[in-house]
């Protein structure tokens, strides 16, 4: 089957944004992507918006954005897959262009989480497990969900809190090299260990921040891509999976079945050997909403055997120069995690890296011309794994 192609990308700085509104940050990312693609606003025939909302004031984001961008009144929708909403939006657009339903589609991921007080944001994300059985009675939070996994992982595999901290150290290092990242300062294992508990055993510096930001892609079909650009990046496959709503219904609390399923599908359709996928890709952007999440991602994606993920980062194998560079933009941990924008922001980084146009100190060596994104919604509730290539 023909692939979809990304022909333009745009992204705002990520952070606590108080000087630009919802539509205004979407505008920045979208117009940057249109200019990059050489597409004008009349040329966009479908708008797909990845956004979760609730904490921000616009209930119909696609409509608000369509008007503000000056689009032509063509079709639009908001797509929700929790923290993987951005990847779900990319899937909708990719399917639309490969099926011929759309010629040029725009994907925008956008979130303004800081329109609400922090405890309300904690509440709204915490409610995103199973509402009645896990939130109503027990007040689970997003960090607490991942803490349940972290505790289980550490007890069974013998990893320590210091080992998880290595993920934060790496991702803050790359964040320090990314002008668009929320956190630009480097941290040490000691800094992470001294930060206060949010949900034991996870500490503040194990967690991604509450973030505002937007990212955008212009997507067309493989056959049309060269009409717009000399540097298209193709979406070779998008694998998907869904986990149980109740965390109590998972077989184990060491990794995500939904991710393993999504990865199998993505690898099969892109011709990636699932036994050593890292040998065929030049970089991976994985969903490190918490340090434990990146460690589990290494294992669920098959970069390493189960129980050995924490060793990979400890041995610096996921820095540039290791077996596979991971989160060269700072990841969710340091770049930031504007929920609905996150998956689109990952795609922006992958496209820039494969075009060899990333910031110089964090540009990976492009040998295979292939990259992976891993975007998880909730706590293994939704999973999207995508393979991109030049």
């Amino acid at each position: 089957m023909e692939s979809a192609a990304v022909i333009g990308v745009g992204i705002t700085r990520y952070g606590r944004i108080t000087d630009r509104s919802f539509a205004e940050i979407a505008f920045e990312a979208a117009w940057e992507a249109m200019r990059d693609a050489g597409v004008d606003r009349e040329g966009v025939d479908l708008l797909v918006v990845g956004n979760v909302g609730g904490w921000s004031s616009e209930p119909l984001p696609a409509v608000t954005i369509s008007e503000y961008l000056g689009l032509d009144g063509n079709g639009s929708m908001r797509v929700e897959a929790a923290c993987a909403s951005g990847s779900a939006a990319i899937k909708v657009a990719a399917d639309a262009v490969t099926s011929g339903q759309s010629e040029v589609a725009m994907v925008i991921g956008v979130e303004r989480m800081n329109e609400s007080p922090v405890t309300n944001v904690v509440e709204l994300i915490g409610r995103a497990g199973n509402y009645f059985w896990e939130f109503e009675n027990f007040g689970l939070t997003f960090p607490a969900y991942y803490a349940l996994y972290a505790n289980s992982y550490m007890q069974i595999y013998g990893a320590k809190e210091e080992d998880l901290a290595e993920v934060a150290v790496k991702n803050h290092y790359y964040g320090s090299l990314n002008p668009k990242a929320y956190f630009r300062q480097r941290v040490t294992v000691d800094d992470v260990m001294k930060s206060r508990y949010v949900a034991w055993p996870l500490k503040l510096l194990d967690c991604s921040p509450i973030t505002d930001g937007a990212a955008a892609l212009i997507v067309t079909s493989e056959g049309k891509a060269r009409e717009f650009t000399d540097t298209p990046v193709y979406i070779r496959s998008i694998g998907t999976g869904t986990g149980t709503s109740n965390i109590s219904r998972r077989d184990d609390l060491l990794g995500f079945d939904a991710v393993r399923k999504a990865a199998r599908e993505a690898y099969r359709r892109a011709g990636i050997d699932p036994s050593r996928p890292h040998r065929q890709i030049d970089l991976a952007l994985v969903h490190d909403c918490f340090t434990i999440a990146e460690v589990m991602a290494y294992e669920d994606l098959g970069f390493v055997r189960r129980g050995e993920g924490y060793m990979l980062v400890k041995e610096h194998q996921t820095y540039i120069g290791g077996i596979v560079p991971v989160n060269t933009d700072g990841g969710l941990k340091a770049k930031g995690h504007p929920i609905g924008a996150t998956g689109v922001g990952m795609a922006v980084e992958v496209v820039k890296q494969l075009r060899r146009a990333a910031d110089p100190q964090r540009q990976v060596d492009v040998r295979n011309g292939v990259a992976l994104t891993h975007n998880v919604g909730g706590t293994g509730h939704y999973a999207y794994v995508a393979i991109y290539s030049i």
Binding site: S57, T119, G126, F135, F138, A144, Q155
Partner: protein, 182 residues
């Protein structure tokens, strides 16, 4: 309401008073962001959310709580057991369920202590949540009655008990560690 709860109420009151002063002065609900100094419009519409949840299909669960029991469902056709209980069988698509009581002693699979809390939980002290495996063949997620995570480990035996949650004063369930041989 704990001390923490009243402190937060006090803070919100001060914030709202400052907005009222600003509205009287210039007629605008504008505040200045304390970190960036950017002007922000303070939304004048407040929405309070509470849902009405249908429970007719699992009414037995709530009747069980009143009798001090935590109940699960079992499909009469395929035997699959469900906790949280549900009146429909996801395996065989039928609605022929029987209600059973959780009687066994479970063991803790994992746990965490929630320190940074959601708005509607701010009035509680830090709480411990855990997931336990029960011999009936399913896991239960609930609060664990312990004062700190240091009292717990993987495999800690737990019973499930009904408790009246305060200050809301309603019945729910809790995982209670049992001493070995208890």
């Amino acid at each position: 309401m704990s001390d923490r709860g009243s402190k937060i109420d006090e803070f919100i009151k001060l914030f709202l008073n400052a907005i009222e002063v600003e509205k009287s002065r210039r007629g605008l609900p504008l505040i200045t962001d304390e970190k960036t100094n950017d002007p922000l419009f303070f939304d004048q519409r407040e929405l309070r959310l509470r849902y009405l949840l249908p429970i007719k299909g699992i009414e037995d669960f709530f009747e069980g709580l009143v009798k001090g029991e935590v109940r699960y469902t079992r499909c009469k056709r395929c035997g699959r057991k469900y906790f949280p209980p549900q009146p429909d069988c996801s395996s065989c698509g039928t609605r022929e369920m029987e209600w059973m009581r959780i009687e066994g002693t479970g063991e803790l699979l994992t746990f965490s202590k929630v320190v940074v809390k959601p708005t509607s939980y701010l009035h509680y002290d830090d709480y411990i949540v855990g997931v336990a495996r029960f011999p009936e063949g399913f896991n239960v997620l609930a609060w664990v009655r312990a004062s700190d995570v240091s009292e717990l480990e993987m495999g800690t035996p737990v019973r499930i008990e009904v408790e009246r949650r305060q200050p809301e004063n309603y019945l729910t369930y809790v995982l209670v560690p049992t001493k070995l041989g208890d």
